[in-house]
């Protein structure tokens, strides 16, 4: 070991989904032990895996229990172990072809080949044009968090079961629709989100197309172009105090793409997500943006809450993922840029039932290295 090599180790409990591990360096070698799979040998289990940068991204060499169960060796050739350096935004994966998008709530998307997405990933669509005047081009260009339902299917949080939407089917469409994955959607939090739905009432529930990452106490501004309906939520104009923006506070967060604000919107114009196909050209979307914080001053927002909890993001569901940063004031803007490695949920070539990152609740111990000297 030379003077400037880097080493790190750690553990996590698998969720069965790809696991991101943040490090202060980008490793060139990663290995891990799945303690659970090692302690209880069973067919399809992967107790150990190894990756070297020279193998290429997304590869891993694994030990694998066969049906006996006896250890054999195999490799994972996609969604294995890879590194990442998420330091700049607006990076996208390769364009993937869309086969169909259903007219449903939520809309169901079928990709032409295996999409490789996991729930919580964010995608953007283009060319959802069925004919010259029909299709779903109204939602093209919007970032959507996906919920994966199969190797080639996923849903997006938008109600396309409305009169102005026509189901997309590439077999009969005049354009070939595609989507791209947004590689690092949450590097700076909280940010701005596209609004998919607003439920008016004594308090106002707002749905977003991707994870809003707001927390209770967050101060937000709403920007709704008139064509989308509920423009009375806009922070300006203020009919009582000239020029003073009207902001709202988040009072609850039911899930990753819904938040409730303390605005009595009874009687406001209904939100209209049933936008026309013909009007998609140059149409601005309704948005919610973070402004600041409730003035907690270190006061607990609710009983038992931490005074200064670590910042986190909520990629999907209600699962919070802490960031690399230390404790922060609730709701503060924070920088979530990071680097490290990802253990994917790929399968061994010879056993499609195995999963590299293990099953949910498996305990995994990992080690990562960045070497000073690399031989030929």
């Amino acid at each position: 070991m030379t003077e400037y090599s880097k080493m790190a180790k750690g553990r996590f409990t698998s969720t069965g989904q790809a696991q991101v591990v943040n490090l202060p360096f980008i490793p060139d070698y990663v290995e891990f032990i799945n303690y659970t799979a090692s302690a209880t040998p069973a067919n399809h289990g992967i107790p150990r895996a190894f990756w070297d940068a020279n193998m290429g991204q997304g590869i891993a060499v694994v030990d694998l229990f066969n049906a006996t169960p006896v250890l054999i060796t195999d490799d994972v050739t996609s969604y294995g172990i890879s590194t990442f350096a998420a330091g700049q935004l607006l990076q996208f994966g390769a364009a993937q072809a869309v086969t169909t998008v259903t007219k449903a709530d939520p809309a169901v998307v079928t990709s032409t080949s295996a999409h490789g997405l996991k729930s919580g990933d964010v995608v953007i669509f283009s060319n959802l044009i069925q004919t010259a005047t029909t299709g779903m081009q109204q939602i093209a260009g919007i970032p959507f968090t996906v919920t994966v339902t199969g190797a080639t299917t996923f849903t997006i949080p938008w109600n396309t079961n409305q009169s102005n939407f026509t189901a997309y089917d590439t077999a009969t469409a005049t354009q070939d629709a595609t989507f791209v994955k947004v590689l690092y959607p949450y590097l700076y939090e909280p940010g701005q989100s596209i609004i998919s739905n607003i439920v008016t009432g004594a308090t106002t529930a707002i749905g977003t197309t991707d994870a809003h990452n707001f927390v209770v106490g967050q101060e937000v501004a709403i920007r709704v172009p008139t064509i989308w309906g509920t423009h009375q939520l806009n922070s300006l104009p203020n009919t009582t105090i000239p020029g003073s923006p009207i902001y709202a506070y988040v009072i609850s967060v039911p899930d990753y793409h819904t938040f409730v604000i303390n605005v009595d919107s009874t009687g406001y114009t209904a939100f209209n997500s049933n936008q026309t196909f013909a009007g998609y050209i140059g149409r601005s979307f309704a948005q919610a943006v973070a402004v600041g914080d409730v003035n907690t001053g270190g006061v607990q927002i609710s009983s038992g809450s931490q005074l200064y909890p670590p910042p986190y993001i909520v990629p999907i569901g209600t699962t919070r993922v802490n960031t690399i940063n230390g404790p922060a004031i609730q709701g503060a803007f924070f920088n979530n840029t990071s680097q490290g490695f990802i253990i994917g949920a790929g399968t061994a070539v010879g056993d499609a039932t195995s999963v590299l990152v293990g099953a949910a609740d498996d305990v995994i111990y990992w080690r990562a290295f960045l070497h000073d000297i690399q031989g030929p």
Binding site: Q88, L90, N127, V289, V291, A332, N335
Partner: protein, 323 residues
């Protein structure tokens, strides 16, 4: 008679180093230009907290003759936090390199590190603005996309939005002069844009775009300034954010940040911004072989007036610039 030529008596040493290094292509860094600067004190915690008072309701209702005071108002304020983050990079240079090189490796590595650090500051601000500022899609262009290409009506719309929000402009206007081909420049917000859109801006000449070269005077023009449209002066950089291939029709989407004064704040802590750290080989290992040279800095950033900033998203009308 035999002639001695370089064929039989060439120079013993074939190479000599040119007196000046070649320049390194470096994008203009515009985002830092439009920020307000704030310094947090040492021992000041992790987070810079901003407070903005809210306006009070103007008393437009007459008191009458009852002798009863109106209800008191409760002053309110908005709180905006920005958490400090630390960044750094460096090089490890073996003493043999320093001993034997001819071109002053420590000097140019220092310069490169400093530029890298300044670029990091700008890129962090850029990406933060992409994440956090609200967006208006250009709709005045004719390319049939969402967003469309930029039309002068889009400049007018976004400047009107900021004016209606009572944002402060950066630049006072430039009065017209009796100089052929020039025109007056309005007081303006800045728009931070991409060099790839310059062809589109040129296409607006005559319908609202005024090239920087056609200003009455260039005295107040910034080096990155390409021109102006109505109340917006355009600064271009090759590193302005572009989302490739994600418009409704699958074209590139450009983030044109239109910004007023005090919209974005850039925060350092106790002058920690920019430390160039050189450690002599003496400090490395028992044989003292390696020097290190590095930069580190701390910064936080916040949108401190969300009403005074918009990302004007646009696609392009012109062809893709050549490679």
């Amino acid at each position: 008679m035999s002639i001695t030529t370089t064929g039989n008596l060439g120079p013993m040493i074939l190479q000599s180093l040119a007196p000046a290094m070649l320049y390194v292509p470096t994008p203009t860094m515009n985002y830092i230009l439009v920020t307000d600067k704030v310094s947090m004190p040492a021992n000041g915690g992790t987070t810079c907290r901003f407070m903005r008072p809210r306006a009070l309701v103007p008393p437009t209702i007459q008191l009458g003759n009852s002798g009863i005071d109106p209800p008191a108002q409760v002053p309110q304020r908005d709180i905006i936090d920005a958490q400090m983050a630390f960044f750094g990079t460096g090089c490890i240079i073996n003493e043999q390199v320093i001993l034997q090189d001819q071109e002053g490796v420590l000097a140019w590595v220092s310069e490169r590190l400093a530029v890298a650090m300044r670029q990091a500051e700008d890129l962090i601000l850029r990406d933060y603005i992409v994440s956090a500022a609200s967006q208006i899609n250009a709709g005045g262009g004719a390319n049939g996309d969402n967003p469309t290409n930029l039309a002068v009506s889009d400049f007018s719309l976004v400047a009107t939005t900021l004016d209606t929000n009572n944002a402060y402009k950066f630049m006072s206007g430039i009065e017209g002069m009796d100089r052929f081909g020039t025109g007056p420049v309005r007081s303006a917000y800045f728009m931070l844009s991409s060099t790839e859109l310059q062809t589109d801006f040129d296409g607006l000449t005559g319908s609202g775009f005024l090239s920087q070269w056609n200003y009455p005077t260039n005295a107040t023009a910034l080096p990155a300034e390409y021109g102006s449209v109505f109340n917006i002066r355009i600064l271009c950089s090759s590193e302005a954010p572009v989302a490739r291939g994600v418009s409704a029709n699958g074209n590139d989407v450009y983030y044109n940040t239109v910004v007023g004064k005090q919209a974005i704040t850039h925060i350092n802590q106790d002058g920690y911004s920019m430390n160039l750290i050189y450690r002599d080989p003496y400090y490395s290992g028992m044989l003292a072989q390696n020097a290190t040279i590095a930069v580190k800095f701390a910064q936080a950033q916040a949108i401190t007036q969300d009403t005074a900033i918009r990302n004007l998203l646009a696609t392009r009308l012109s062809s893709v610039p050549g490679p």
